[in-house]
Amino acid sequence: MSHESTYVPGSAIERWLDKRLPIIRLGYDSFGDFPTPKNLNYWYTFGGILSVCLVIQIVTGIILAMHYTPHVDYAFESVEHIMRDVNYGDIMRYAHANGASMFFIAVYLHMFRGLYYGSYKDPREMLWIIGVVIFILMMATAFMGYVLPWGQMSYWGATVITSLFSAIPLIGDSLKTLLWGGYSVDNPTLNRFYALHYLLPFLIAGAVILHIWALHIPGNANPTGVEVKSKKDTLPFHPYYTVKDGFAIVVFFILFAAFLFYMPNSLGHPDNYIPANPLVTPEHIVPEWYFLPFYAMLRAIDFNFLFISSKLGGVIVMFSSLIILFFLPWLDRSKVRSHRYRSTAAKLWFVLFVADCVFLGWLGGQVAEQPFILFSQLATAFYFIYLLVILPLLGLMETPKELPKSISEDVLSNTKKKAAISATPEPVAQPAE
């Protein structure tokens, strides 16, 4: 840990344990006394929210696994058994299905927050990279989880996405056969997806530990982007941030509960309540909402380029959109971390980038026809141009605003401003007596 340990074992048993396995010290230093910048806003609560999401997914998932049967003849039926006959089974399944969506809402906001405040910049590159690894693992887990109920969208989504691997030159077809465990999406596919769907969350949990470790070496970034200079800039994590994160988590739970209890199927597709049928293709095959931006990029490439077929082109573009995120810490050439101290142009381009991602998501849900393909091409192009051209150039060209000397100076000046506003005598209507 980057700060000196202040843990003092309070009892004989703690002293005994501390000499042998200082696990309480680890917990205390990481989540008790850990010095945290005092100016973190609510955008910084998504880390805590995401850990809660992971725990919810694992707990509900293990309970569902106790009642689920990974076999093409029984999978759909066993899900209905969970919904109808298992005590609180409907709540467990709806919590797990909507929990995935909540997880992605939180992770997208967490990532955009990192982007806006330049959280990935030196010395937090590893933190960001591990985060991208977690994101990719999440996508793989969610994709395989959606296949398990073995409804129409499960089956056809799996067919479409796994078929993409055949576009890879030389090894593509063998890779696809390996994924399928045969020559079509069938029982072996369902079995291996189930095994991997159970495994990957634990890899995510491991990566989360690394993510927190990589966070605790340099310490938290913060909205000013100015590093912690003295003790005055920080607060112990507990109770200051446990209570702030705690409040954010409860508010997030209200959103979660609204979906879980009142509109549990609104984020899913009705076709997934029809058992998988290899002989009937659904009219529109659409993935879950959180994959739509990437699906739009995949479908945007409807032309061959040199020796690259449109299919391979789409796959390259889609995977590049994720891979490129690994290089973000070096693509962003800005002298300051936070957009707060960057030019208006930088802020506007950032807003456009966010809008572009949302637009891509909308496009992913439309039919693959003109003009949506053209829009997808433009939006995909902008996604890459922003990250590869605009972001580096902005950093080189712009003159950032003056940074505050320290976090506490910034906080104090804000407080003064607020005080000045509230100190202004307000014209109060005096009641005539």
Partner: protein
């Protein structure tokens, strides 16, 4: 800055174009009828009597072709189900707990009206016996091939989840059942198929030749009718089902409403307990959020921020 504005203008222009194109496309269905459902909303609950009548409609009409594979007789008698009993009727021994579907006299009698194949017996033969509450509802066909053969190649879908397996399921079912009409003048339909403006399909291919040019394009000014054709003829007609209760009208609208309520219950039998739990959770979460927010303000009160 100029580029941003230009991009925005172009995007808006394209967006407008796309909307225009979408409106011109065929294969649209008529806008669904928006019915008020008692199970909608945060305090929604099933209209028990309507679900009971809906079950009667299902049993006497729909079940001739449509199975209900995931619904067992006992489900009808569990809490939230149409025949749930809070306590046994007069004359039953006090030891009998009619809240249990297995002891519910209506469910027992209902199940016994069905013949269920069981076995093999000690001699190795399958045999028929009266149904028990634990049995699942027997379907009309032995297998999908038989179902297809009996319906001109179309397989009648299972009804257990139909209300969730269609976009806006309840409104769709209601609209479809009440929406059968004579095919518009502009199309010809094959024998054994029936036109319905709410059924997803594309009626472009059904247009009479005089409305289409040599290359198969629809002539200008010709409106492609909504919806499409299906192999199920209008299943309901007035007075087709005889309701025991004299006051409920025996009309297609009423039957459709009742059977939709029943099918929604079949798809989502735990809806009521889920929404009740939601209410409790929400109240809890709002109070808890208030307490945590107050704690947050307290704890942070000594910090300049």
């Amino acid at each position: 800055m100029n580029t941003i504005i230009k991009t925005l203008i172009t995007a808006t222009a394209f967006f407008g174009l796309s909307v225009g194109i979408a409106n011109a496309a065929g294969g649209e269905t008529k806008e669904l009828k928006h019915h008020h459902w008692t199970f909608a909303g945060i305090t929604g609950a099933y209209d028990k009597e309507s679900v009971q009548r809906g079950f009667q409609v299902y049993r006497e009409v729909c079940s001739a072709c449509h199975s209900l594979d995931y619904v067992a007789f006992r489900h009808l008698g569990q809490k939230g189900g149409p025949f749930y009993m809070e306590k046994c009727p007069e004359g039953f021994p006090s030891t009998q707990d009619c809240r249990q579907p297995i002891a519910n006299p209506i469910i027992k009698a209902l199940a016994a009206e069905y013949e269920i194949e069981d076995g093999p017996d000690d001699g190795g033969d399958m045999f028929m016996r009266p149904g028990l509450p634990a049995d699942y509802m027997p379907g009309p066909y032995a297998n999908v091939q038989q179902a297809a053969a009996a319906n001109g190649g179309a397989i009648p879908p299972d009804f257990s989840l139909i209300a969730k397996a269609r976009h806006h399921g309840p409104d769709y079912i209601y609209s479809l059942l009440t929406g059968y009409e004579d095919p518009p003048e502009t199309i010809t339909i094959a024998e054994g198929t029936y036109y319905n403006p709410y059924f997803p399909g594309d009626s472009t291919s059904l247009l009479k030749p005089e409305y289409v040019d040599d290359e198969g394009h629809v002539l200008e000014g010709v409106k492609v009718p909504y919806g499409g054709v299906l192999k199920m003829k209008a299943p309901l007609s007035d007075e087709i089902v005889d309701y025991a209760d004299e006051e409920t009208p025996e009309t297609v609208e009423q039957y459709s409403e009742d059977v939709t309520n029943f099918l929604m219950w079949a798809a989502e039998p735990k809806l009521e307990s889920r929404k009740r739990m939601g209410m409790i959770s929400m109240i809890y979460l709002f109070i808890f959020a208030g307490i945590v927010y107050w704690s947050y303000k307290q704890i942070w009160s000594d910090v300049d921020h």
